[in-house]
Amino acid sequence: MSITEAQIKPEINIKDVRKYFPIFEMPENRDLIYFDNAATSQRPLQVIKTWDKFNREYNANTHRGAYRIAEKATQEYEKARDKVAGFIGAGLSNEIVFVRGATEAINFVAYGWALKHVQAGDEILLSELEHHSNLVPWQMVAQKTGAKLKFIEFDESGQLKMEQYFQLLSAKTRLVAITQMSNVLGSITDVKSIINSALQVNARVLVDGAQTAPHMPVNVSNMDADFYVFSGHKMLGPMGTGVLYAKRERFEEMDPVFFGGSMISDVDYNSSTWNDIPWKFEAGTQNIPGVIGLGAAVDFLQQIGPDSVRAHDQALTDYALEQMQLIGQLKIFGPLTNRGPVISFSLADIHPHDLATFLDSHNIAIRAGHHCAKLIMKRLHVPATARTSFYLYNNKQEIDQFVITLDKAKDYFSKWI
């Protein structure tokens, strides 16, 4: 446990956490059941206020201005880096680079690290569980370098076939890029043993933590990941924020991706040298209040405790799975245990879009579609699924309401399909 984690005592009780989220207080949203948390979370007052305060009190560009508000902006920005490092158990704050989201983080690794270190004949191992953001960048790398993509399948329950992974892993494997939790099936992958085995063939591992950083305790040092990426906006932070963690050695062997202001040490007509890590990877003006707001989101999660968040999510998920299975013709895609709070399902022959619209008309927000994971859709032989996903402000009453409304939807469409 890092110092920051240890220092912050749980102070906010998860039982009444909903009151910190202003969106549920809007008259139009009083009855809103927000079950699209895997897409983005809502934000607590603390985060909204932090952004607001920056803009009303000390808005300035960082790292350059020799005046009071610029100094304050810089300090708060760098403090957020410390907080994030503590939150994921990174040893050093400069192993944290701020980006727009998980997508950008993965692309940074693809351009800055993989194009340099992956060669023709090398293999990149992915899984069929991957979000497009952890698949399409590697297609680009494969096309540019001549490396091959190999895919680990998932079994009927939606869990990764670990034996297959061990088989695919070889001296050719240069990189394993794997999600820690599927944003469609909710399956949790055992990244610890994935990384252990990868180490033995000297392969690097990128872990896509977009769905885990918000929902469970994460410790990149214990996990021993080379790269760990996630999005701020899925864990109560402002949109337009995300994190690329990399081990110091990985950042050292990585080229900057974007070039321009702040990332340089010296600039001449035809060549330049780079600033220190992590600033070398943060070209141009950053989303400064976004990052400081992400720091506030981390504080908020620490005050509740990642373990409490996980326990809460899990209780809700277990309850939802239990209740949903009582509905006839409802099919759950994905595992029933060892999973996170995101559930994909189908109901009778109702198309997911029709179901989502029906639920919306009853004030329940879920998602329908391929969820940026077409390989999963292909494997499941469906064009789309309906998906519900929970977070710390959700509760059982909402799930009851959701289940009742699913029943209604079945009735509504039943005479037609």
């Binding site: 198309h351 879009h353 029709d354 919306d360 008309s361 391929h370 064009p383 509504y412 005479k415 037609w416």
Partner: protein, 142 residues
């Protein structure tokens, strides 16, 4: 939001009993329409003669709105001239996008899709087959 405004009986009937479903042999144009955000897909085949849509059929899978819209569309354009079909596309587009200056006279059964304008993400569903038609007609022109 009253859900029945969207899912009118006509729509659900067409969804259950799609008209002109299938592919036409010897079609003059065959074209696929896709909605990348949701994965819905329509394959449209058209037979044309002297600038008239003599036959039309569709295949594919998708939600009630996209499938019913395709079904109604096939009925509405069969026998029409290409320019009439194009005009219909325009009027229908306006209606489902919530623009007021469309011609309700021309809508016939298409009027059932009026409620779609209240559901912006579903507009794409209603227009899936129509956009395919538009592309098909443009292809034909060349």
């Amino acid at each position: 939001m009253d859900i029945d405004e969207l899912y009118q009986e006509i729509i659900l009937d067409h969804y259950k009993h799609p008209r002109n479903r299938g592919t036409l042999e010897n079609a003059d144009v065959k074209i696929t329409g896709k909605n990348p955000f949701c994965g819905d897909e329509i394959i449209l085949s058209l037979k044309l003669k002297d600038n008239i849509v003599t036959d039309v059929a569709f295949e594919g899978s998708g939600c009630a709105i996209s499938q019913a819209s395709a079904s109604v569309m096939t009925e509405q354009i069969k026998g029409k001239t290409l320019s009439e079909a194009r005009e219909l596309f325009q009027e229908f587009s306006k209606m489902v996008k919530g623009e007021i200056n469309y011609d309700p006279e021309k809508m016939d059964e298409l009027a059932a899709f009026k409620g779609v304008c209240e559901y912006p993400t579903r507009v794409k569903c209603a227009l899936l087959s129509w956009n395919a038609l538009k592309n098909a007609l443009e292809q034909k022109k060349e």
